[in-house]
């Protein structure tokens, strides 16, 4: 059996202060609205966690690169800050490869060895053991996306 325990109220009426408070706040809101009728919303780039990043902050390129890196799941093997985990660290690769096996490729292709390694489709890297690193050039990432990642990784010291 359900026990009915109604909750009465002292009064059904509305206190005067509540009406004045409502009117006052609506007026304040109206004034704010009226003073912000025209303009353009800022261009907000969305970062890796799906939230906005400020535009013109210098972080836009990094944000786009990090979004692509997130899509490729690089951090799963190279660490959240690319400090290395299952895969090697990516800090300092602007100076050259941190892995011995990639040094011959870097000597032969000094300007784009990182791109070639990430894509994995060029004969120059065909014989090097990738140790479970996917070949992102086989449909996962476009050339532009790989270039964006390379540009970002080169900023890591």
């Amino acid at each position: 059996m359900t026990i009915h325990t109604p909750i009465p109220s002292r009064t059904r009426g509305l206190p005067a202060w509540a009406i004045w408070l409502t009117v006052f706040l609506l007026l304040v809101g109206g004034v704010y609205f009226a003073s912000n009728l025209s303009g353009t919303n800022p261009a907000v780039a969305r970062g890796p966690q799906g939230s906005a990043a400020p535009s013109g902050s210098g972080a836009v390129d990094a944000t786009v690169a990090l979004a692509i890196i997130k899509k490729a799941q690089c951090q799963a093997c190279h660490g959240q800050n690319f400090e290395g985990a299952i895969g090697p660290t990516l800090h300092g690769i602007a100076e050259g490869p941190v892995v011995e096996a990639l040094k011959p490729v870097a000597q032969e292709h000094p300007d784009n060895w990182i791109h070639l390694w990430i894509a994995g489709t060029d004969p120059a890297v065909a014989d090097i053991d990738r140790k479970s690193m996917p070949k992102f050039g086989e449909g996962t990432l476009t050339d532009d996306e790989i270039d964006t990642i390379v540009a970002y990784l080169k900023t890591l010291k």
């Binding site: 304040v28 009728l37 939230s51 400020p54 210098g58």
Partner: protein
């Protein structure tokens, strides 16, 4: 006639009763939903603490993969962004949603005088909903979901399961109250009704939008707007409806003003949908629309003030009850967080603030104050009132209950502050184009504070779960006699 000796029982032992697979007893739905909610509270706060630890120690990434027949591979990576998504989804869909629905099942029959039309249906919905949430979290940790904001869009099958569960919950609720709706309907039922309908509509719409491909950044914009609308309509509505029950019932006083309650409800109803527009910050969105959203977010202060004033005035003459730990003191904490969190969200709804703090943990700090502050304490207040009555035990377990309350309060305050200050510092560093190393080294102290807070919160959640377990297994049996509030000369009889 020969007797089967195995079936004979001593005369002083009661015959065995067959247990139902799905409970259908009165109040079984309220008990189960609330109990499951407390478990999710522990899980969610644990995920939050682990996420923050990973932000400080990025090497602490856990990876697990397995291969199965038919080329099926599962790859689970517990990295910070997935832990964050897991934390937020566990808080909203796990802890708060289960607690809100449990509160609805407890309160609705008592204020309407009508039993739930089906405890069985409500309990089946419990299983479906929690299965959907578990599967959703699994897809987050497996990296299957696209990155569309803090509150995830699950895969279609999981969404379908969730929609079915919410539909069943709505069916049981409306089947129970529809015939009794009228001018005397108590304010809590109005909040619950709108909240449940909004939950069904928004969740279904969010799932349906997966079928349409939007150009960037619209998936993120729509997800943000969905999260804001869900929080304003469903979580806030359920929490306020709960407080409107707990405060008068626990104090023994009648509600101060039915008219004030109705005004707060009406303003909440209108402003919540407008407030969701504040998330649509993009050049392609008309400026007027986002301005309207900012105004709506700021004006949500109005229903927050009205609710707080109404409930504080209800406590007139019973202030001494607040000196003791229990439902009323937790309700007061919830009201304090309500006002503070609404002010924070009003500031956070401004375009300039979104642009400054959007890529930072500021939004998570705001979520901690609203979700783990306001709504959590509202539902914990109900738990303190409801569990002893549902389990027929004496309330609380001495110092364990007090410790749980203090730990939770301190944890929320410290974690929320740590995350918000970290977000402000993070936004400042991003504006200066600082590199990841500089950002990490600057924010580590704020994050350490947030970790400490989240750790306290997780301990508090564990203490609540332990308290509930001890109350059930070792608590002193008690019978609660329901009495009407003391007669008051100014009280109007049998109204909302």
């Amino acid at each position: 006639m020969s007797a089967n000796l195995k079936k004979l029982r001593p005369y002083d032992q009661a015959p065995r009763t067959r247990r139902e697979l799905v409970p259908n007893a009165p109040d079984s739905a309220a008990t189960l939903w609330l109990a499951v909610a407390v478990v999710w509270f522990v899980v969610a706060t644990g995920l939050g603490a682990l996420w923050l630890l990973q932000e400080i120690f990025p090497q602490a990434t856990f990876t697990w993969h397995a291969a199965f027949p038919f080329n099926l591979k599962i790859w689970v990576v517990l990295q910070p962004d997935r832990m964050l998504a897991g934390f937020v989804n566990a808080v909203v869909y796990g802890w708060l949603t289960n607690a809100a629905i449990g509160a609805i099942w407890f309160i609705t029959p008592r204020v309407t005088g009508r039993p739930l039309v089906s405890n069985l249906g409500a309990n089946v919905a419990l299983g479906l909903w929690n299965l959907a949430v578990l599967l959703g979290l699994a897809t987050i940790f497996m990296g299957i979901l696209p990155d569309h904001g803090l509150l995830s869009e699950f895969t279609l099958p999981v969404d379908a399961l969730g929609v079915l569960a919410i539909l069943m919950v709505n069916g049981v609720f409306w089947g129970s109250v529809a015939r009794g709706l009228g001018p005397s309907t108590y304010i809590s039922v109005l909040y619950f009704g709108i909240g449940l309908l909004a939950f069904l509509g928004l969740f279904t719409l969010n799932a349906a939008l997966e079928l349409i491909t939007f150009a960037d950044p619209w998936p993120l914009l729509l997800n943000d707007a969905y999260a804001r609308a869900l929080e304003a309509y469903w979580l806030l509505g359920a929490a306020v409806g709960t407080l409107y029950y707990v405060v008068p019932r626990a104090s023994g006083n009648p509600l101060y003003s039915g008219g004030l309650a109705l005004l707060g409800w009406l303003t909440w109803l209108v402003l919540s949908i407008v407030a969701a527009l504040a998330a649509l910050v993009d050049p392609s969105v008309p400026y007027l629309l986002t301005t309207l959203g900012s105004v709506g977010t700021m004006l949500l202060l109005l229903p927050a003030f009205l609710v707080t004033a109404n409930l504080l005035l209800t406590l007139r003459g019973r202030w001494s009850l607040l000196l003791r730990f229990g439902g009323l003191s937790m309700a007061l904490i919830a009201l304090a967080f309500l006002v503070m969190a609404t002010i924070i969200q009003a500031i956070g709804g401004l375009r300039s603030v979104i642009a400054y703090t959007g890529a930072t943990e500021w939004a998570v700090g705001a979520l901690v104050y609203t979700g783990l502050g306001t709504y959590t304490f509202a539902f914990l207040a109900l738990g303190a009132h409801a569990f002893p009555r549902l389990l027929r035990r004496a309330s609380g377990f001495g110092s364990l209950t007090d410790a749980a309350q203090w730990l939770t309060f301190a944890g929320v305050a410290i974690a929320g502050a740590g995350l918000m200050f970290s977000g402000i510092a993070h936004g400042s560093l991003l504006a200066q184009a600082a590199g990841p190393d500089v950002i990490a080294s600057t924010l580590v102290w704020f994050r350490l504070g947030a970790v400490a807070g989240m750790g306290l919160l997780a301990l508090g959640a564990l203490a609540f779960l332990l308290d509930l377990f001890l109350m059930y297994t070792a608590g002193e049996p008690a019978v609660y006699v329901t009495t009407a509030p003391p007669p008051d000369a100014a009280a109007t009889p049998a109204t909302s």
